[in-house]
Amino acid sequence: MSAAIGQPAAHGGPAQGRRTRILLAKPGLDGHDQGVKVVARAMMDAGFEVIYTGLRQTPEAVARMALEEDVDVIALSSLAGSHLPFCRKLKVLLEADGLTDKLWLIGGNLPAQDHEELRALGFSGVFPTGSKLDVICDYIRENVK
């Protein structure tokens, strides 16, 4: 419908063997992308391959791209408060696509009281505002399967 279709773009550089591939997505209607672009640059500098979706991704679009792009990590950046309803829908779709073995992360404006539910939904890495870039990248390195 009206959601922008993600454009595979902004890869981290030439592939040398298999580098960790990350789908970095902006879920829902939130238009704040300063943070996600900062994180994308940090991930690329850390040697990961990053596929940034651009704004306004539906759960269906995120799941589809995760499958098609054969990524190792699915990372979301949410700053406008709709992270829980989005993640509940996305979980079902990722499970249906057999992507439970991938690393699921979320960062942004995430109140502390929501962290437990996000982890229970399968988003093992929760990085609220104030998280350091290197902490995010180290977490991916240590936990990617």
């Binding site: 704040h32 651009g54 309803p85 009281q113 104030g130």
Partner: protein, 537 residues
Amino acid sequence: MNDRLSSELRPVFNESGLEVKPLYTAADVAESGGLEMLGSPGEYPFTRGIHRQMYRKQPWTMRQYAGFGNPHETNQRFKYLIANGQTGLNVAFDLPTQIGLDSDDPLAEGEIGRVGMSIDTLRDVEIAFDGIDLAKITVSMTINGAAAIMIAMYLAMAEKRGYDVKQLRGTAQNDILKEFIGRGTWIFPVEPSIRLVGDTIEYCAEHAPKYSPVSVCGYHIRESGATPAQEMAYAFCIARAYADEVIRRGVHVDEFAGRLSYNFNIFGNLFEQVCKFRAGRSLWAKIMKEQYGAEKPGSMWLRMIAAGGGGGLTFEQPELNIVRGAYYALISALSGTQTMALCSYDEAYTIPTEYSARISLRTMQILIEEMGLTETVDPLGGSYYVETMTNRMRTQMEEIMAEVDAQGGIVKLVSEGTIQAKVSAQAYQMQRDIESGAFPKVGVNCYRNEKEDDHPVEFHPYNEDDARAQIDGLKRVRAERDEAAVARALERVARDAQAGVNLMPAIVEAVKAYASVGEITHQMVKVFGRYREPIRF
């Protein structure tokens, strides 16, 4: 003496990249261009303020950003703020409204009323402003992609309530070019988006001549990573793009330029910000006079809201943001702004509660009542440092604007994603500098608390029932309205979009028939298509 002192110390640069010396004298002022651009308040080039008496005559308007849930709830918050001494309203809309979706659109699920008020039809606008005297309280609407529709709804609501629209004041943000750079509530591609901005300016110049149809925002460009000098320079480039669009249609600059306004950001070095505003005020006056041939002083005025910016506030030790907010308000007052707003201390966590919004409001009131900030115009004027840095900031803004022009102009650079990539790279560097401690941030990379969770922030609650009530309200309006009139009006929107005539009369007809934001947007999307982001790193 002065030079020897400088050379002994490590050089210091402000965020805009200009060196800050340990001491300034008359020689520095002279070397930077002298006092040629200083003038007197209320006189060209307005460095010291656009009015002769400034706050002595009337303090700045206090306009906290507010809105959430449905129009009923937002109406209550508006009345609370007014009862507490707020002198203007600044309306926050939810994301579905901002990007032209009705509350019953599947994509709106989970987002209704979350970051602002949900508006579907004129009925909602009537409810939101019920009981508020629009002649006394001016309303600013933070709406961009759907701005043409919201302006039409606001004017229609005021007209229905018996106000003379020719006398109606108020502001719509309606700055779509900056939405492509940061903030992201775009709908249509770049060219038709600029056309719509032109349509609103042209329409208001004729039908609502005291209404400000555009507030050009350096604010969000700064939040996206721009320096203070870039913030002003890019905003001026964008304002020129809108002015060119209107002038191209045969409207004289003096017929609309007086109603263009600005929205700028405040965080960082106090003196750099104050000089940024003083420099920007004279540069904009010079651009309008020399490049556009404006003759009315009002066409040359940099009328602005200078708002204490979220970019400077921290998630860590949130109560320190109250202190930062007070400094930002001081900067805003020293800068000669027309309107002031502050991000509340809890905005790294949640939308403001009544409590945090009231603290922001009281912060501004303390400046007026206790600190003497309204007594003297441009109190920093004449400082060797401030005058030198004002000149240097102005020169740098001119250089940035010349660079944009040399690269093909702001519309081209935004369409390609060039500006986005540039400010995003800067934001990344700043984040790295904060994390390494190179750029000090109290509570973040120095003076951290051992225990970070000892000051819990109260969260503004989100109520799912409000979203259901909003959808039910939309259904009721659809059941009650004259469907044939709606269909005719919507058909006219598509026809006029195709024909390239000014779309505002068609949109006004549609909103008066209670067509919804989503329905009207859909008609335009059929003709214009949707924007696709250029993703560049």
